[in-house]
Symmetry: none
């Protein structure tokens, strides 16, 4: 077993679990603890992980891009939502997802999970390219300028022939009466296909989106089974949503 092989497995394990134990790795890879320590030291130097006593943990990927993170609103909240939602995805399931920053934060925590991801967003696909265990299917379609989402009849047709366990949607508005919505018609249309071809619909959105209505409607509110949001959601809105049968998951930070 050469070093690079070990590195690969350590990286994989780290992506999957977020934390690795030195003893566990030593046993699994059939090398001494000293070797594992040295491996972890090197990987830390490369910036791939942070050493802890007894093992190592993933470097918070959102910290590595400090100047980008400022550009994204509600960064912390989105990260918490991402972690929380990803943990509730069962291994082996098929997940369809749109683009958007909140969905992206879920995907970041999905690396290493053995799931199939169907997406029309190429940045999501790129993010998962390095994950061995994740099967990625891209819908295809025309790329909207200044966005990474693929839309149009090619995307439609591909989604038409797929069925997913979970549709994971990022949205711009969620309203009790008008349902879920976004800013452009094309994206709304594509998102609605995910809704119609999935067993369950999960929406991820920071609390500012709840109660808002964006121009392009995706689906009625009853289609949404579960909402992941942050603690900023007002208790009244939460109660109203739960009253109509929606499961509201608050991601603690």
């Amino acid at each position: 077993m050469i070093r690079e092989k070990r590195f690969e497995l350590i990286r994989g394990e780290l992506a999957k679990k977020g934390i690795v134990e030195g003893d566990d790795l030593a046993a699994r890879l059939q090398v001494s603890r000293a070797t594992i320590r040295r491996d972890l030291d090197q990987l830390e130097e490369e910036g791939l992980l942070i050493r802890t006593h007894g093992g190592a943990q993933v470097v918070d990927s959102l910290v590595e891009l400090p100047y980008h993170s400022k550009l994204v609103a509600y960064m912390q909240e989105k990260r918490a939502i991402g972690l929380c939602a990803s943990q509730m995805v069962p291994e082996g399931s098929v997940i369809g997802c749109t683009g958007g920053t909140t969905v992206m934060s879920v995907i970041k925590y999905m690396k290493g999970k053995t799931v199939t991801v169907v997406t029309n967003a190429i940045n999501i696909a790129m993010e998962l390219a390095s994950s061995e265990s994740t099967q990625v299917i891209v819908t295809g379609g025309a790329m909207r300028t200044r966005s990474y989402e693929l839309v149009g009849h090619i995307a439609d047709r591909t989604l038409d022939e797929l069925y997913m366990d979970i549709a994971l949607l990022g949205i711009d508005g969620l309203d009790l009466v008008r349902g879920i919505s976004t800013y452009t018609m094309q994206e709304a249309h594509t998102a609605s296909l995910y809704v119609n071809h999935a067993e369950r619909v999960w929406v991820v959105a920071d609390h500012t989106k709840v109660g808002k209505i964006a121009p392009a409607l995706i689906a009625p509110i009853m289609k949404v089974h579960r909402l992941f949001t942050d603690p900023g959601l007002s208790p009244e809105l939460r109660s109203e949503l739960e009253a109509i049968g929606m499961e509201v998951v608050i991601a603690e930070m």
Copy 2:
């Protein structure tokens, strides 16, 4: 067991597993470790892999860090080929392209041109995402691990309904008798669809690919209208290719 045979197996193994062990290869190929070491040295010089203690690993095309870029084989040549080929693309044309580092270097010079790019490689699509004037159509399909290319029936069907002015292909082998070829069957199949749905076929490849045969055939040599390569191409090979009607463009550096 001649050297080229070994190279072929090593490349194949590398494409499949990403990491190879020297001992393993020596046993499999029935040669001494010293020979394997020399083989790996040479393949490293060609930029196909990176030597490590105990073996070698693929050039991590997934990590586009600047220091890795030096390790891309024949960097200078590819840049020259990219510039040269991009200048010969007429405005307004529809170009279909596969993945691969040489094609990528053409695409880098294509930004800002008013062309339509059809591709099954998401890294190509990402590269063009920032270009306002370029219309991008992604075929869709299943993403191959360790590569950015989309393959399978979704990709096939999309390509079936498109027609392109130019098919721009990156290849691993171009031979007078066996035609153009690559390492994996799936990519070869997808590439062949570009050939069949394009008015003209352009191949971009550094001179080391000319005269080589890779295992998976894409198309017969007569289908190729134009080859862009670097000054390293031997005059004999050039004459032979031109004798059968191929246009050979040498990109000066």
